[in-house]
């Protein structure tokens, strides 16, 4: 049996935990640069705020409803997410963290009698201990567990266990096909053409027919909905194939210097992420963007992909490559709004090919990076950085409504009366 767990309105719930007065109020969390809505409370959904609505479009509506607005506080959300995942890991040997607010658990062969109780205990304990509301769906396959989770939410329950064929049948009967895990726009349109409206209709299709029209992915989903597991829980997160760090500026940048600083910061972030997953990058892509929505400006989207001399993950190496690259693509006269650094060609750190005639001299840089990581993890991100990455950061993103770092900064802990 598998369980799928997710945090209800994750970002909003994190904000509410440290400010319970927000309970029952319209709450929204904005994306980087306070651009658009990326999380909504139930109350916000009820007044018609949509996902990814631009902030200035809904400003009036939010004001009229006395909404609480927050900038993304990723330090807080990441910490709360880690706490939740560690709590879940206590109930299973295999936990697959699927995203910041979602995880799959393998529940093994707990007898059906105890499954309901066990799930209830997970749901209740984790909610009380972390303070975050969660929903748990349990089913014989990962697709059914995810389906159970969604069905539970619709029924306003904290958990739903699909442990018998009857329960599965009853739940898939009127479960809309577009809400099934893995059914995207394309499949949805195709399936509508076949007259498939619910998960039940989809199950009734012949396996061969599904295989023929929907490739192996669709066939696997079909099998999973019949309770035959095709997906397995991967205990270890896969090495990402691309790592990117990018951000919009708070105002247009026309000079090279702030762009260099921003690129240096992104390169350092990419290098840190590479080191964290013990891999190295062979190539870096550095790009610049102007604002495509502003028709009055000339548009320029230069991008360059450069080979790193040897596969590297040190802040020094990647920053040097990135800053050189930005000098190559920068052209004066444009109003740049965004820049980013993407690492591709990612290989495990142990499998680096060095040049036949070169001597490996990177250990100094490696040590420097380790030292920087050590200091930064102890005293906070960005305490030590290269000179290329400035300390002023005038271009840093807009975060007007940022809440406190309740769990990661001593200065921000809550004061009680």
């Amino acid at each position: 049996m598998f369980a799928h767990v997710d945090i209800n309105n994750c970002y909003v719930s994190c904000e509410r935990l440290f400010n319970p007065a927000l309970e029952g109020r319209v709450v929204v969390v904005l994306s980087n640069n306070d651009g658009c809505v990326i999380a909504r409370s139930i109350e916000a959904k009820a007044i018609g705020i949509k996902m990814a609505d631009a902030e200035f479009m809904v400003r009036q509506n939010l004001k009229e409803n006395n909404a609480a607005i927050f900038s993304s506080n990723y330090a807080l959300y990441a910490d709360m997410s880690a706490r939740l995942m560690n709590n879940l890991a206590r109930y299973t040997y295999t936990l697959m963290v699927y995203s910041i607010d979602e995880a799959f658990m393998a529940l093994g062969n707990i007898s059906d009698l105890d499954l309901e109780k066990h799930t209830a205990a997970i749901s209740e304990n984790v909610m009380r201990h972390t303070g975050l509301p969660i929903t748990v769906g349990v089913g014989p396959t990962m697709a059914l567990a995810k389906l159970a989770n969604k069905a539970a939410k619709k029924q306003k329950r904290n958990f739903l266990v699909l442990d018998t064929d009857e329960k599965v049948d009853a739940t898939v009967r009127d479960f809309p096909i577009e809400d099934v895990w893995g059914v995207g726009h394309q499949y949805y349109h195709k399936l509508t053409e076949f007259g498939v409206k619910t998960a039940h209709d989809f199950r009734e299709l012949k396996a061969d027919f599904v295989r023929q029209h929907m490739t192996v992915q669709g066939w696997r989903l079909h099998q999973e909905l019949w309770g035959k597991p095709c997906n397995i829980i991967k205990d270890v997160a896969e090495r990402s194939k691309g790592i990117e760090s990018s951000q919009s500026f708070n105002s247009y940048q026309t000079e090279l210097e702030p762009l260099e600083e921003a690129v240096a910061m992104h390169a350092a972030t990419v290098a840190l992420k590479l080191r964290q997953q013990q891999s190295m990058a062979l190539t870096l892509t550095i790009y610049l963007r102007t604002n495509k929505h502003n028709v009055k400006h000339d548009q320029h989207y230069p991008s360059i992909t450069v080979k790193v001399p040897f596969a590297a993950n040190t802040t020094y190496q990647l920053t040097r490559v990135a800053v050189q690259a930005i000098r190559a693509i920068y052209q004066p006269g444009y109003n740049y709004l965004k820049t980013g650094v993407r690492a591709t060609g990612i290989i495990p750190a142990g499998e680096v090919q060095y040049h036949m005639f070169s001597v490996y001299e990177h250990s100094k840089e490696q040590k420097l990076s380790e030292l920087m990581d050590g200091l930064n993890s102890r005293y906070g991100r960005g305490t030590v950085r290269l000179g290329a990455d400035s300390f002023e950061r005038k271009w840093i993103m807009k975060q007007e409504f940022l809440s406190h770092q309740y769990t990661t900064d001593w200065k921000d802990i809550i004061v009680t009366q």
Binding site: P20, A82, N87, H129, T130, T407, W410, V415, T416, Q417
Partner: protein
């Protein structure tokens, strides 16, 4: 999240095998007895003197564990009418008294009223370092 103490580096002794090396144990780490469940422990700061009688003064750091259920006498942090409070948990029949030193600071919760128990305080830290010592890295001792 709680940062575990970084262990001191153990130096090798040249040319001589110390007999006690086979009997080494991990050294004492204060976080072991301060935080039982790091994943569910939070920190807050006392902002008033209403719990002076319980030896909790202003600016003490509170260690709060969410896994514990309050029992009579527990010091709890809770949310009530817009603010966080730290009081002694004293259920009395249908009523719940959240007791402070002075009766005027105590909060009484009737059956129907809502209150949110945020966590149980397991320990408070009392910074006693003198101001003239609070320089350099010692400025960080229990400062928030």
């Amino acid at each position: 999240m709680l940062r575990l103490k970084q262990h001191r580096e153990k130096r090798d002794v040249l040319g001589f095998r110390l007999p006690m090396l086979t009997h080494e144990e991990p050294e004492l780490d204060i976080s072991e007895i301060i935080v039982m469940d790091p994943d569910n422990t939070f920190f807050m700061r006392m902002g008033s003197d209403s719990m002076r009688g319980h030896c909790i003064l202003k600016d003490h750091v509170l260690v709060i564990d969410r896994t514990l259920q309050p029992v009579p006498g527990s010091i709890v942090v809770f949310f009530h009418e817009g603010g966080f409070y730290t009081r002694e948990y004293q259920p009395q029949g249908t009523k719940l008294i959240l007791k402070a030193d002075e009766p005027k600071d105590s909060i009484s919760i009737e059956n129907s009223e809502t209150w949110v128990c945020w966590g149980v305080v397991t320990l408070t830290l009392n910074p006693v370092l003198q101001p003239q010592h609070r320089t350099g890295r010692y400025a960080r001792v229990c400062t928030c």
